[in-house]
Amino acid sequence: MTEAAKPAADIHAYLAELEDIPGTRVYTAARARKGYHINQFAMSLMKGDNRERFKADERAYLDEWPISEEAKQALLKRDYNALLDMGGNVYFLSKLFSTDGLSFAEAVSTMTDMTFPEYRDMMLKGGRSPLGNRSIKGGY
């Protein structure tokens, strides 16, 4: 054989590390699978017609999708942290931000423990520090 087989990257260790970041849901395969229809639903809002239908009757529009009741409730409430837990991805969910006419920063702030003015203020002062926010286990 021409070249020795490379040692496989340890996918299990790789994925485990991704779960060790405070306040963060890395969009892994596991989440992508879980949130598949949430994200495809959100993507459908890129079309003006769909946005109008959704706005006219959110519940009826959601009922066209194979999404759990829990996810539908989170979508109706715009509970984005719950949606991240269910495999939602922010770039997909952002189609819902724009449908609501919300800026990215304002929508994002709803996932933190701050009001939007507080969040905006934090950003102007240099943003959230990585200090203590890097690792759950390590606490650094």
Binding site: K95, A105, M123
Partner: protein, 280 residues
């Protein structure tokens, strides 16, 4: 022969597009950002690239979850700005350079990169915002574009090492294109930012600047930064910076820094850009 004359790394925050489109580039908030790009806009006017290989990522615009290509290269003639939920940006259509794009695509596949070829797609802020930052508001973009879309959303995204190697292969491909063309390569996205969860709003001035330092260096240590470091240090969306490594890998061992700029914040994001020239 086509010549790869320069590389640019730049953020591509959608709000910068809004600032341009709504004429707010001089206000208190955006002024310092656009001032930092002024040098680069003047430089681009003088450089007049024929084509830009524009490395960016699609943000759930052209691609949904049905199909997720790791590296996709646009080989089409024309790309329209995508409707990202607010209607498409009122910027010119993006002209492709199908001859060069197909040449690069073919060369990369022969070079053992597993490219996905795209003939039709819309392009989102990841591609059009850097054009606005470099060229302002022309009637028509002053150069053609070869879009190179990288998956940096669904994990695992490509390794820094693979991105760097792709850049090296793009440089070889450009060098073997028979037409005399002035080609630039841009890596876009970043810098530190996190758009999700309780940790949203994380920025890291120190790390971002260390990253810029490493791009200027003639060592390739930056290609070995693992994904977890981007995630811990620069927020969940800082990973976009692996796309800058494609640009840097294309420039060869030694580079000269022509311009460098960093500003915090723009919306949720740290803004940075760097202009590099290959040294031979």
């Amino acid at each position: 022969m086509a010549r790869l004359t320069a590389g640019v790394g730049s953020s591509h925050v959608p709000l910068l597009g809004v600032a341009v489109d709504q004429g707010k580039t001089g206000d208190d908030y955006f002024g310092p950002i656009f001032a930092g790009y002024e040098w680069t806009r003047e430089w681009e006017k003088a450089e007049k690239p024929d084509v830009v290989v524009l490395v960016y990522n699609d943000h759930a615009s052209a691609f949904d979850m049905k199909i997720v290509p790791t590296f996709a290269i646009g080989c089409g003639e024309l790309y329209k700005p995508a409707d990202e939920g607010w209607g498409p940006r009122q910027v010119p259509d993006v002209e492709g350079h199908a001859d060069l794009a197909w040449h690069i695509a073919q060369s990369l596949i022969l070079d053992d990169f597993d490219m996905t070829i795209i003939n039709e797609m819309d392009v989102d802020h990841g591609l059009t915002v850097p054009l606005s930052m470099m060229f302002g508001q022309p009637e028509k973009w002053p150069c053609k574009v070869v879009p190179l879309a990288v998956n940096v959303v669904t994990y695992p995204v490509p390794s820094g090492n693979r991105c760097w190697a792709l850049g090296e292969a793009i440089a070889r491909a450009v060098a073997s294109f028979p037409e005399d063309l002035n080609v630039q390569i841009w890596g876009t996205g970043g810098m530190s930012h996190q758009l999700q969860g309780p940790r949203a709003g994380l920025l890291n001035r120190e790390w971002d600047n260390k990253f810029l330092d490493m791009l200027e260096s003639d060592s390739d240590a930056v290609r070995w930064i693992p994904h977890i470091e981007y995630l811990r240090e620069t927020g969940s969306e800082g990973i976009e910076m692996v796309m800058w490594l494609i640009m840097r890998g294309a420039l060869g061992k030694k580079v000269k820094t022509l311009h460098r700029h960093y500003h915090i914040p723009c919306s949720n994001t740290a803004i940075g850009h760097i202009v590099l020239e290959p040294e031979t």
